[in-house]
Structure formats: structure tokens, C-alpha cells
């Protein structure tokens, strides 16, 4: 009893990983009925860009959170346009938690997301446009401010514009001031817009 000393030979029960770790083996384990097996497979598949579509299709059906997280992390690590185009589909999901998870991981893939950003910002679905602005939060790209300004000038959905205003307050420059003020006119009857614009303008002007 007590502490197991370093000098003692102690067999720590490591759960044996008898499974194959090549691509074929991992893809099979990804569909195993044991969630822990699926989880380890998902994690190891981060080294296999060719597994993107398999990872995405399992993600669509996966009910265990730890497997889902492992798949999302692997897709993020793999990166690239294929992973992004698979992830984007989940922005339209009815499941709030997968939507929000996908937004989060897409924030960690700025290079892969940048090329599709202007499409997302003009999507027919206002929620997708809102989520696109969420993703913009960590995007390093010369057009971010311009995109946000375009949104508040052209978009007619109050919550899309509201989201853009929030971000402009943080990263906007003097260029954003006039468009922001015009937004108050566009949504004259919305106290929130007035509040948010005033806050953003104050932040940009460095008060």
C-alpha cells in the first residue's frame, strides 16, 4: 500500500492497442461499434488527408461527443479546401451543438476558410451569414474589414448586420465609421443596433 516506488517493477495496465494503425485499418476502426475505438481511430487519422470524406461522413452520424471532438480536431489538423467544404455543410445542421463546434474549429483554419468566405457572407441563409461572421473573428486576411463593411451596407437582415457591427468594433478602422453610422438609419426602429453602433464607433475612435 502507499506509493508505488520507482525502484519497484510495476506492471501498469496499459490497455493494449491491438489494432492496425495503417489507413485501411483506421478507416475500419472509425466505424467500429465501440466509441473508444472510433475515437482513437479518428485521432490517428489526423495524419491521413485522404480520410477527410470518411471522417465527415462518420461525423454526420456520430452521437458520442468524444468521437465527434476527435473527428473535428483531425479535420482541423488536416486542413485544406476539402476539409473546409465538408465542414461547411454542418453550418446548415439543425443540431445547434454541431453547428457551434464547426464554427469553432473553422476559426482555427483561417487559410483554408479565406477562399470561401465571401460566398458564405452572401449565402441565401441568414444564419449561415451570421456564422460566417463568427468565423471571421480570427481570420487574418486583408479583406476582413471590407467584407464586414459590405455586410452592413448591403445586408438587410438585422442579426447579420448586428454580428458584423460587433466585430467591426474590435478590428475596424476609420473606414468603418460612416457605414456604421448609416446602419443606424437602416434599422431606425432597433434600439440594439443603435447601442451596438455607438459602442463600435467609440471603440474605433479610441475613446
Amino acid at each position: 500500500m502507499g506509493f508505488i516506488k520507482n525502484k519497484e517493477k510495476h506492471e501498469i495496465q496499459y490497455k493494449k492497442r491491438k489494432n492496425e494503425r495503417n489507413l485501411a485499418g483506421l478507416l475500419e476502426q472509425l466505424k467500429d461499434k465501440d466509441p473508444e475505438t472510433r475515437c482513437w481511430a479518428a485521432r490517428d487519422l489526423a495524419s491521413y488527408p485522404e480520410s477527410v470524406s470518411s471522417l465527415a461522413s462518420v461525423l454526420a452520424e456520430e452521437t458520442h461527443l468524444n468521437v465527434r471532438e476527435a473527428i473535428l480536431t483531425s479535420l482541423t489538423l488536416i486542413g485544406g479546401s476539402e476539409a473546409v467544404s465538408e465542414l461547411v455543410k454542418f453550418l446548415r445542421s439543425d443540431d445547434a451543438s454541431i453547428r457551434n463546434d464547426v464554427i469553432e474549429v473553422m476559426k482555427s483554419m483561417p487559410d483554408a476558410v479565406a477562399p470561401i468566405m465571401s460566398d458564405l457572407l452572401t449565402d441565401a441563409d441568414s444564419d449561415v451569414r451570421i456564422f460566417a461572421i463568427d468565423i471571421l473573428e480570427s481570420l487574418r486576411h486583408p479583406h476582413v474589414e471590407k467584407w464586414l463593411i459590405d455586410v452592413i451596407l448591403d445586408d438587410n437582415h438585422v442579426n447579420v448586420c448586428a454580428n458584423a457591427v460587433n466585430l467591426l468594433g474590435e478590428i475596424g478602422t476609420d473606414d468603418a465609421l460612416a457605414p456604421l453610422k448609416s446602419l443606424k438609419e437602416k434599422f431606425k426602429s432597433e434600439p440594439y443596433i443603435k447601442f451596438a453602433v455607438d459602442m463600435a464607433v467609440n471603440k474605433i475612435q479610441g475613446n
Binding site: I4, K15, H64
Partner: protein, 280 residues
């Protein structure tokens, strides 16, 4: 070189951003503390306006500057019985629950990562010896890991300054330490043999592959310095390393709300910890 100042708007912008990233909120009374450090980093990175520094730091791909900034904005000292309330939780809340569901004869495994110079894992060992009656009925395996092999070597040596042991009462000091001629304290050979120190890189998948079946993990004041993706990965490693029902403790200003959704929040009288449940 003119004196850079941080405006009210700058401070609010920074505060909001930092709270979002770390969960730490600076009250207005911390203005001087925060401004001083922001100005310091602005100078050191060659930015003469807060705006350009903020933009640089915010969008940097590597996240290095935010890490460095977080480092200087937080207190990083390590010493024995730091954040002692968690050790109390360990003994009074976590271990009782663990042993209730544990097979007799099996080993209780505790992981301390980062070990740093060893104060944390040795503190755990001391606390269990002194305050947990169960230590006589259970085998306990204590593993302590760090990425820095030099600091691991120091930890294995077990030599500490007076400052590091100042929270220990003299009884414990006398019982488990020897005072060295230069005024430092060396922890006993028996305790040094009670902790297995290993080299681990959380961001390297191969490094943690065989860390499994832990009942308790202490990962305090590490993940706060990681970027979002590394935090996720680390949380996944810890989740896989824990037994169902196992617990993980973070630093006092850290929260899973900035790290991962995998764990269940558990409130004990002395602290909030996180638990891996059976199946989710």
C-alpha cells in the same frame, strides 16, 4: 521614444479580448498592472500604437505573442501546496468517489502535468501521506511529466529554496525534508522514489499514446498558455487518459469553458473540477 499610453477604449478592447480567450477578467483597478505590461510588450515588439500591437497580436498565426502576453499577465510562481484547496478536494471529495467505484487491489493513478520542478507532484504525495487515510489501503502510482528535460532533472533531484517550501508547516518540513548547508531543502529519498518523472509533449500524439487509466489528472496553469487548437487536443488526450469517472483539475483562473466540452463540471465544497463520465 515617446511614452505610449493606453486609452480607456484600448483597455476595454483588450480586456474583452483577453476575457474571451482566457476567462480572466481585469477589473478597472488592475488598470495600472495591465497598461504597464501592454506598453512593455508594445515596446519589445516595436509597435508604437496599441492599435497596431493589438492587430499584430490578435491575428498572429502562431499565437506566440498572445502566449507571451498571457504569461506576463498571470502569476506563474510554483511552490509547495500552491492552490491547496484542490489538494483538499482531492482528499475529501475526489478520492472518496474514486475508491467507491474501484476494484480492490487495483492501483490509483495520478498524473501531474506539467511537473515543472516537482513542487506539484511532491505536494500531492505529501498531502496524501499526511491527510488521506486511504493511503494505507491503496496502491498509488504518481506520474509527473514535463516537456523540459532539464526541469525534470531538477525535479528528480528534489532540492528547493526556502521560498518554495514556505507554505509547509515546520512539522512536515522536518518529517520529509533535509536542510542543506546552503539553506535549501531536499525532499526525502523515499518521496523522490514515489514519483515517476517522464518527458512528454502534449502536442505530439506519439508522446502520450500510452498514458491511460488515470484516475486523477492535475493540469494546472498550462493550458491557459496554449492556443485554441492545442487546448482542444490536450483535452482530448486527457479525456482518453482518464478512467470513466476520473477527474481533471485546472489552475484556479482556468476553466474548461475556454478549453473543451468533453468534461462534466463538478462542484465540490473546496473547488470546481471536471469529470469524465461513462459514455457521452
Amino acid at each position: 521614444m515617446h511614452e505610449s499610453t493606453i486609452s480607456n477604449g484600448d483597455f476595454l478592447k483588450f480586456r474583452e479580448f483577453f476575457y474571451r480567450k482566457t476567462g480572466i477578467i481585469f477589473s478597472d483597478s488592475k488598470r495600472y498592472f495591465v497598461d504597464k505590461r501592454l506598453v512593455q510588450r508594445m515596446k519589445e515588439t516595436g509597435h508604437d500604437s496599441f492599435r497596431s500591437y493589438f492587430s499584430f497580436m490578435r491575428f498572429q498565426a502562431s499565437g506566440e505573442e498572445l502566449q507571451r502576453l498571457t504569461n506576463i499577465m498571470t502569476v506563474n510562481e510554483t511552490y509547495f501546496f500552491r492552490e491547496e484547496y484542490q489538494f483538499r478536494s482531492l482528499v475529501e471529495s475526489m478520492l472518496p468517489e474514486i475508491v467507491k467505484n474501484k476494484e480492490k487491489g487495483s492501483t490509483i493513478k495520478i498524473w501531474s502535468i506539467p511537473s515543472s520542478s516537482g513542487e506539484e507532484p511532491y505536494s500531492i504525495a505529501l498531502y496524501l501521506l499526511e491527510y488521506w487515510s486511504g493511503i494505507n489501503n491503496w496502491d498509488v502510482k504518481l506520474v509527473a511529466s514535463d516537456i523540459d528535460t532539464e526541469i525534470l532533472r531538477k525535479a528528480q533531484e528534489g532540492i528547493y529554496s526556502g521560498r518554495s517550501v514556505q507554505n509547509l508547516d515546520s512539522r512536515i518540513l522536518r518529517k520529509y525534508f533535509t536542510k542543506l548547508p546552503n539553506g535549501d531543502w531536499r525532499i526525502s529519498e523515499d518521496l523522490r522514489q514515489s514519483v515517476e518523472f517522464t518527458s512528454v509533449n502534449l502536442n505530439e500524439p506519439g508522446s502520450t499514446r500510452f498514458y491511460r487509466n488515470f484516475d486523477i489528472i492535475f493540469c494546472r496553469n498550462l493550458l491557459i498558455y496554449f492556443d485554441d487548437l492545442s487546448r482542444r487536443r490536450s483535452a482530448e488526450v486527457f479525456y482518453g487518459a482518464l478512467n470513466p469517472g476520473g477527474f481533471i483539475c485546472l489552475g484556479h483562473s482556468e476553466s474548461m469553458s475556454r478549453i473543451s466540452s468533453l468534461f462534466k463540471v463538478r462542484k465540490f465544497p473546496d473547488s470546481i473540477v471536471y469529470q469524465k463520465l461513462e459514455a457521452i
